[in-house]
Symmetry: C2
Subunit: 340 residues, 2 copies
């Protein structure tokens, strides 16, 4: 039996039971094609296959490599690149090889890139309030017309209300989502097509206007989404570390310990990670300096489960994740969709 | 001729001339073994070989994989693992294969790990003020005695004044470094051995007490070190991105543009990156949203050099770096020391 004691640290751990409960909860709320899981959160075809096994066979991607990797893994029934790219020749090759690829477009240039690259289906990406990609509502219809004039099939619209995901109060979040989706539906009226794609883990339950939700973080979670109290998903992702150094209390300074998890194994844009039974002081390249609640109980060699603040960029730093049942390692997934 | 227009973005760029000037400046200040370059900053054996060609043939590492990779690349003349590990069997195999490996120890357990793992040489790691690894000054002599009793060669001491690196005023930084090094020299008096190893890019010129300096960031730099005005090193590292979306000014909101560089290609612990001729609003997984100083001059497809706030975790997100002379791509280095 392999246990977490046998792993080289830092190591990405996934609590298999918590993952399965998260998948179950989401599949009950948004069955089948109502969810278009976003693979950018986990970058792992083996985990995408579990989502497919739950009935979600259409997927969202953020990079060309994610599209290529999903297709190569046999998960290319309906892949949406929910991001703008100006050279779609690699995507066109994926289409030629038999996968279904739909690309987001928000400008005449991205429409031309789709036509030139051999991508035959597009969604018009609409700015619903997050200042990022997406055309103005008033331009969506013209873009759809341009796309159709180039022989592209316009499947509908997408718009990501990313700025709403972490709004703490659920009613406030629902109201802000409604405002965003009013813009998306106005664009949809001009664009046509079957798809109104939006949403994420924070709004999956309150976005009643989109007909498919692009959630990804729900499967593994992080402390940022964990702080949103109405979400029913459990923390399933941890970065396992080893206590490699400890400094006892002295001169009025409390004791601290060092676990070998750091900036090279943690996404830091949402701030410091959390450590159970202790407070994090700061992170370095290969270290978390933290103050245990009970210093004397911490021993060199102890294995500690550090909880990341942001799941997506954390996973992008790892080559593999280990599925665990308690401390037993039961499976290994390659993080095989990294890079571009 | 390959140019930056041919690269898939995001892509790590290294300005070859700026890199060479940084290497020259450092080699003039700290020739030969006075510098023990830290490979954690770049994780690239091809770049370490350039440092070796400048006369620095001893190196500092932060992970076991960095030690293994450097030895496999033929750069194992004198490798210091400046970090604590409790299982040194992989390091012992590197020693058996003919490389010289010295490990940091700061506890009886790490001493025993060195002896058990087949590492024959150690440095006593001393806490000089940064709350991280390192034993108390008063414990250093006993640890050295323990190590020698286990048949280990104690080469000296190390202590990293990391909390001093970014102190803006150089005199203030020098004074704080002196205080840290007083602790290290006190420990050295009890430990013995030839080596007093410390320092980094921020203190390389003011640390007159260590006899070797562990600087790494100087070769490529980042905006955090760039803000330290007395340092003579130039920004040589950029993350190349493509403008994939732009939203013109409307309703009193200034225009913004999106470049396809984000949290998956940037270390974020020091905050947002910088974009020339513009202000960064925020970063997403695959996007920087920024406001160009001159919106009308920015076109879809433009290549933009984003400047990272922290070099080490940025490079850890990339598989390769492209060396450039202006816009011409002149070489490709594999980032081959990633992982653990």
């Amino acid at each position: 039996m392999t246990t977490i004691e046998d792993l080289q640290t830092p190591a990405l751990l996934v609590d298999q039971a918590a993952l399965q409960r998260n998948l179950d909860t989401m599949a009950a709320a948004l069955p089948g094609a109502r969810l278009r899981p976003h693979v950018k959160a986990h970058k792992t075809t083996a985990l995408a296959r579990r989502q497919s096994d739950m009935g979600h066979t259409s997927f969202t991607c953020a990079t060309i490599r994610e599209v290529e990797g999903m297709a190569a893994a046999g998960l290319g029934a309906d892949l949406l690149l929910a991001n703008e790219v100006l050279d779609m020749t690699r995507l066109g090759r994926v289409v030629e090889a038999g996968a279904r690829v739909t690309a987001a477009v928000d400008s005449p240039e991205t429409v031309e890139a789709a036509a030139a690259g051999g991508v035959r289906e597009v969604l018009v990406d609409v700015n619903v309030g997050l200042p990022r990609c997406g055309c103005a509502v008033g331009d969506a219809g013209r873009l759809a017309d341009l796309a159709r004039s180039r022989g592209l099939d316009v499947r509908g619209v997408m718009g990501y209300e990313g700025h709403v995901m972490l709004v703490p109060d659920v009613e406030d979040r629902r109201k802000q989502t409604e405002d965003c989706m009013a813009r998306l539906l106005a664009a949809h009226a001009d664009v046509g097509g079957d798809i109104v794609s939006a949403g994420g883990t924070g709004t999956y339950a309150v976005n009643a206007w989109a007909n498919e939700i692009q959630a990804g973080s729900y499967a593994l979670m992080d402390t940022a989404y964990g702080a949103v109290s109405d979400l029913p998903f459990e923390q399933a992702l941890f970065v396992l570390g080893t206590v490699i150094s400890r400094t006892p209390p002295a001169d009025g300074i409390p004791g601290w310990a060092i676990v070998d998890v750091g900036l090279k194994s943690l996404g830091m844009d949402h701030g410091n990670p959390s450590v159970p039974k202790g407070a994090v002081w700061f992170c370095s390249d290969e270290h978390v300096t933290w103050q245990p609640d009970d210093f004397d109980s911490v021993r060199l060699g102890d294995r500690i489960r550090v909880v990341p603040a942001h799941v997506d960029p954390t996973i992008a730093l790892h080559e593999r994740m280990w599925l665990v049942d308690g401390d037993e390692v039961v499976d290994e997934f390659a993080v095989d969709l990294r890079g571009w």
